[in-house]
């Protein structure tokens, strides 16, 4: 089908996305600008550019950036790897089981997809205090695993139901043990689902704000997001530092996204087309 005004569509698209992009432009514009100019002219291009804000954040005496970065990297990496393994195995168990108990368990787990963290966070702090894991990185990781396992199960059960069971049965009849069948035959087949789970949970956990805020607490270290939050309280006027911190906190996720863009879209849209 031909369009009557073929030039109209790209122009509208360009104008619209340029308008949409304006808020994002504020970050690079203000990161490379001397701090005193930020309030005076927030939207002007950073010319001549300066790295002062970035070096100031990197060399803060309290190491806010480095501590936050280390915490975020550890929490995200460990949570995501554990979640992928646990939810792949659990998803496989549930997808292949024919017992009504497994169906009920699947429903209970999927209900977890809609539970807001606020509903559980207060008792979770009690559970963590009782096990002396409150305000520790392992405590936050454990909570992440419990809270995000429904998403992993959701992705993996859906995916596993689409692979024929015959492959596993053949391996099983050849005498392989169940764990061997899973790791050698099934898990390699799950690569697209594992990619979705790794990518989505990686971005979500990296960006999480409320969970690290409540569980790691104000005293014991920050992640990159709670670090940014803390810096706006401290430096109400020094927006140079705040923007530099946000820039550095976002950079890893942005690089990750640009490198894996296709998988992002694929993972998001798996359900939209199947229905």
């Amino acid at each position: 089908m031909t369009e009557r005004l073929p030039w109209l569509r790209p122009i509208v698209a360009l104008v619209l996305s340029a308008l949409f992009f304006v808020p994002l432009y504020l970050v690079p514009a203000n990161v490379f600008k001397p701090g005193d100019q930020i309030s005076a002219s927030p939207a002007s291009p950073p010319w001549p550019p300066t790295l002062d804000n970035i070096t100031a954040v990197l060399s803060r005496p309290d190491n806010l950036f480095w501590v936050s970065l280390a915490n975020s990297v550890i929490v995200t990496a460990v949570s995501v790897v554990v979640l992928t393994v646990l939810s792949a195995m659990l998803g496989h168990y549930l997808a292949r089981s024919r017992s009504p108990w497994a169906t009920a368990l699947t429903l209970v787990l999927l209900a977890g997809l809609m539970i807001p963290p606020q509903v559980i966070l207060i008792p979770v702090t009690e559970v963590l205090k009782a096990t002396e894991l409150m305000a520790t990185v392992p405590g936050l990781v454990l909570f992440n695993v419990g809270y995000y396992v429904p998403f992993g199960v959701f992705v993996f059960t859906g995916f596993i139901r689409g692979i024929p069971i015959e492959l596993e049965e053949a391996a099983f009849l050849d005498g392989a043990r169940r764990t061997q069948v899973f790791w050698r035959v099934v898990f390699p087949l799950l690569r697209p689902a594992s990619a979705s789970v790794l990518i989505f949970l990686g971005v979500w956990i990296w960006n999480d704000f409320i969970n690290p805020l409540v569980i790691l607490g104000p005293g014991r270290g920050t992640t990159v997001t709670t670090g940014v939050y803390r810096s706006i309280g401290q430096y109400q006027t020094d927006f140079g530092s705040v923007f530099a911190l946000m820039f550095l906190a976002t950079l890893p996720v942005l690089v990750f996204y640009l490198a894996l863009q296709k998988h992002f879209v694929k993972g998001l849209t798996g359900g939209a087309t199947k229905g």
């Binding site: 927030p42 709670t226 942005l254 087309t273």
Partner: protein
């Protein structure tokens, strides 16, 4: 490696003369082995995930329900059973009713605006080529940003003296509003910020849905004389039903638990809780104010509302979905 050598042992050959062997009957032994095998299967594959979920999601929900029936307050022990008192107090509490209203308005905006905007942008970008791919990336970028980062950017942008108001003044608006510190605007400003961040998500989901609309159907409709609007209503829109379901449910659940933006941008204000959502009040009351019992009642009501709303939305939206 085969298991053939193990099979005879497990099968326990029948004794000569057809008599039963002494000791454990083979059938029961086999059944016991099967149960042990199933337990081991559950223990290795399912238990780790199920147990962490039970400890950090199920048990806390049970605890929340229990706390909501008490006057729990860590600084005022002992904990006393108060029955439904927290709930009856809640439904008369103007602060809670305001939060309910704020949450409803916010959720409605955040479900509708990115859905409509995302659909329009998806229709605009539904073309092949590098140019349109790049445009898609622009719209999707905010989705991967942290809500804290988005909040800080927009706080600067919408500042009384920020870039937006400077631009408005340059355009001749003498007295542009204080977007985030005027009680009449703050809630709508926050809702717009969240909508801006979520629109890219809807764009991507709708674009995938549009790819599932067969070109032949469009062409057949065109041959029958249907104009673009008619084609959209009769062919495209019904086939986008699964995409609408996903977007609506995801937006509903995420809008209902809005906390980060409120905490960073307005801290519940300006004025008396003009932007304080239920999710925000639960943590303020429970963790900062230590009224754990009262906050838990709020949390339980919140869970009930989001559960019912999601179930209703799913029921209605799934009913519209058609198979090709």
């Amino acid at each position: 490696m085969t298991t053939h050598t193990e099979l005879p042992a497990g099968r326990a050959p029948t004794a000569p003369g057809g008599g039963r062997t002494t000791g454990t009957p083979p059938a029961r032994r086999r059944r016991r082995g099967a149960i042990r095998d199933r337990l081991a299967h559950f223990g290795i594959f399912a238990a780790p995930g199920v147990l962490t979920y039970a400890c950090f999601v199920v048990a806390p929900i049970v605890l929340s329900v229990y706390y909501s029936l008490t006057n729990a307050n860590p600084f005022r022990p002992p904990r006393r059973w108060v029955g439904l008192d927290n709930y009856t107090a809640l439904v008369q509490d103007p602060e809670f009713l305001t939060a309910l209203r704020v949450t409803t308005i916010l959720t409605l905006i955040v479900v509708i605006v990115p859905n409509v905007g995302g659909l329009l942008v998806a229709l605009l970008l539904d073309k092949r080529g590098r140019f349109y791919n790049a445009m898609r990336s622009v719209f999707f970028t905010p989705v991967i940003l942290s809500s804290v980062v988005v909040s800080v950017i927009w706080t600067r942008l919408l500042d009384v003296d920020g870039p937006l108001n400077r631009a408005l003044r340059a355009l001749g608006v003498d007295d542009p509003p204080a977007w985030l510190s005027d009680p009449d605007f703050a809630l709508y400003s926050v809702a717009s910020i969240i909508s801006w961040q979520m629109i890219g998500f809807c764009v991507v989901v709708y674009l995938a849905g549009l790819q599932g609309v067969p070109v032949e159907l469009q062409e057949a409709a065109a041959l029958d004389g249907a104009g673009p609007v008619r084609r959209f209503r009769a062919v495209t829109w019904p086939l986008l039903a699964p995409a609408l379901t996903i977007n609506t449910v995801v937006l509903l659940i995420s809008a209902f638990k809005t906390y980060d933006y409120i905490k960073v941008i307005t801290n519940g204000g300006p004025g008396a809780g003009t932007t304080a959502t239920i999710a925000f009040n639960v943590l303020q009351t429970g963790l900062d104010g230590n009224h754990v019992g009262y906050a838990s009642a709020m949390a339980v009501l919140m869970l009930v509302i989001v559960g019912v709303a999601t179930a209703v939305a799913l029921k209605i939206l799934r009913g519209r979905e058609v198979d090709l």
